[in-house]
Symmetry: C2
Amino acid sequence: MLPDEMSSVPHVVILGAGFGGLTAAQSLRDAPVRVTVVDRRNHHLFQPLLYQVAMAGLSPAEIAMPIRSVLRKQRNATVLLADVTAVELESKRLQLRDGVLDYDYLIYAPGTQNSYFGHNEWERYAPGLKSIEDAVEIRRRVLLAFERAERAIDEDERRRLLTFVVIGGGPTGVELAGAIAELSRTVLAREFRRIDPSRTRVILVEAGARILPSFDDDLALRAVDQLSEIGVDVRVGARVTTIDEAGVVVEQQGETDRIESRTVVWGAGVAPTPLARTLGVPLDRGGRVLVEPDLSLPGHPEVFAIGDATSFLHTEGKKPLPGVSPVAMQQARCVARNIDHTFHRRPRETFEYFDKGTMATIGRSRAIAQTGSLRLTGFTAWLAWLVVHIFYLIGFRNRIAVLANWAYAYFAYRRGARLITDHWEPPEVREQMPPSVRAKPPSYASPR
Amino acid sequence: MLPDEMSSVPHVVILGAGFGGLTAAQSLRDAPVRVTVVDRRNHHLFQPLLYQVAMAGLSPAEIAMPIRSVLRKQRNATVLLADVTAVELESKRLQLRDGVLDYDYLIYAPGTQNSYFGHNEWERYAPGLKSIEDAVEIRRRVLLAFERAERAIDEDERRRLLTFVVIGGGPTGVELAGAIAELSRTVLAREFRRIDPSRTRVILVEAGARILPSFDDDLALRAVDQLSEIGVDVRVGARVTTIDEAGVVVEQQGETDRIESRTVVWGAGVAPTPLARTLGVPLDRGGRVLVEPDLSLPGHPEVFAIGDATSFLHTEGKKPLPGVSPVAMQQARCVARNIDHTFHRRPRETFEYFDKGTMATIGRSRAIAQTGSLRLTGFTAWLAWLVVHIFYLIGFRNRIAVLANWAYAYFAYRRGARLITDHWEPPEVREQMPPSVRAKPPSYASPR
């Protein structure tokens, strides 16, 4: 399509370049539309491997691709780096922080953000894992805890520094806990002189009755076994009541227990972004947008909503769909078809989810997977996990680089991305930064 | 050596794990000493390739190795992550921000930091290139300028956004300017729809009479030619008098000229860290520590100082040595030998620098190099540069990964590390951050 033909065709704006948004853009490749993908970030993030960045196994660039680069050959697509502050359904317009963007069709796919269930004050002590920045911060905290433990003279302080608490027993929490245990027992164990990183305690705290609720009971039990093998202490039915710089307080069977720890990671929950409230349409209790069977918004056939920011209840038993990438991607393709049906004045189709199964990895060479009636555990499940994740990694270069890094980490028991980096600040901010912001370092003495 | 034998042997503390410090540690591998390497960072940085991180060609982890990992097999070495605030020569003790560290021998190798010649207010507008954080910030600014130019509606603003000023005509400035020009002309040119990145202006500003003063005249002229070929505008004899958010003011042949630009990078100077002033020994005009022929401090035979934080004037013509890594590494080996001579009550040797030559790269497949009477330019020089830099990259894995990334970037005209990332902030800081801190974004409108 030539640029001057462009303004005469419908303008499809896609809000968010996650798995849903990017798939939607690609599915509209040959449609007689012009597509604008708008995102706050310049990169698409391969979320399933984000915990590997937090654990120094991969570099950020290996799991993130510039959106522009992914769509560079799609001539009907434009990428816009912008922060959307509101959706105005009546005027068919997005308010940006620094401008506006009009649409004929909107595909709403903003995803979710970390949610602390009303305890936003916990965030500074327990960062979540949603962005590259989160992952780099968690990596910084975990590596710094080992460095500080190496210098600690007080045994209690050393114990606090070598105790890691992961909150939330979903796949993210399980993967993080397993990876911390492994990082300390294999990679770091040989490099410290004064501490024994194999004495690290990793505690996985889950409020529900068991971890990995999206898996079958027996598989979840196998996951608990595998976690125990690598030294992760799994506590179920443990509700977090406090998080502060000294650790976590949990309530378990009526008893209150303080876990002293300097490093807490949050994997317990995500929630839709506040943007949903600007839509003015019905939301479910969790703040998700309720969509019609064709994935459009009620009363707005020109607006579709997909991914984990939405709630699709038109299934058997009205069970909500899980917030995973296959749902978002299948919804994206369905929306592209429904836009095409609209152009051809055909009736729209109802979205149907085809569940290909689910998997979670537990450190090096351990995992669980279920698909249809097939159940896998241990090394076989881990190999399946590896193949699926490498296969779906966006961008050929990244696949090769990630495989090379994994092979290196696997065979050499080392990890390349173990950087503790801070962030660049202009001098004024450096001076203004209140000293209380970061957890106070305990006092150390000369190692002499 | 067993741990309990350790306390009876002399304690050598190495301050700084740059090229000098790390080489010193490795050279003391078989010496009857225990070595403690203390650094503010957990990683050794391969500085010569830092500009590649700033230009999205490499990931931070590819040019940085955890110090612990480099020294993991050296049983007499310990690594300490700590911030040294003062050196107390009389009590043979380092003051740390959170403790103290006593030594028998000290190898002082702290390196340099960005220097704005008394204009520290320029730093926020023109970050330098000394650390991973600096490189990631420059990458963020350069990539963001292109993203904003894509959205700009005002032609003047678009021109400001596509004008990049690099200050300083040394190797760092030349490499940065060449790399920005190339990034825009090859990699980005195919991915933007509304701007033509090949219309980017890159201006290299040098106050002296010519760029690359450490090279022969004719080679420096060839560098200017090669820079022009890829579109870099070289301005010599241009003294910077102002840097602000709208650009740079230069004074050239008595005339004042304002260059309007949203992205300015500082490559004009470095200076020793303020730590030198705590030593209480004579410094040169630039703040560098003056050392004896054996690299020790005057009156302190147990303290050696090496690298670009020092000034060694015991050469023919008393010409100071350049602040490059071969000097630091050769000095490190000389210090290790002099410590050994001391143990054996032999006289110490005088340091002699063997100049292997110098090289600078100018974008993809262009460079200059000189060694002895040999002069190389163009592709041959670039190949030589590639081989030398890959060869000296610390850590086998990194060599492979860097080569793979370069091959990819070279043949596919793409770059993998094009991430615009911000940094993680606890919620309180996010709210406290004064809005004036970052340059105000100009206003944009809908691309419709």
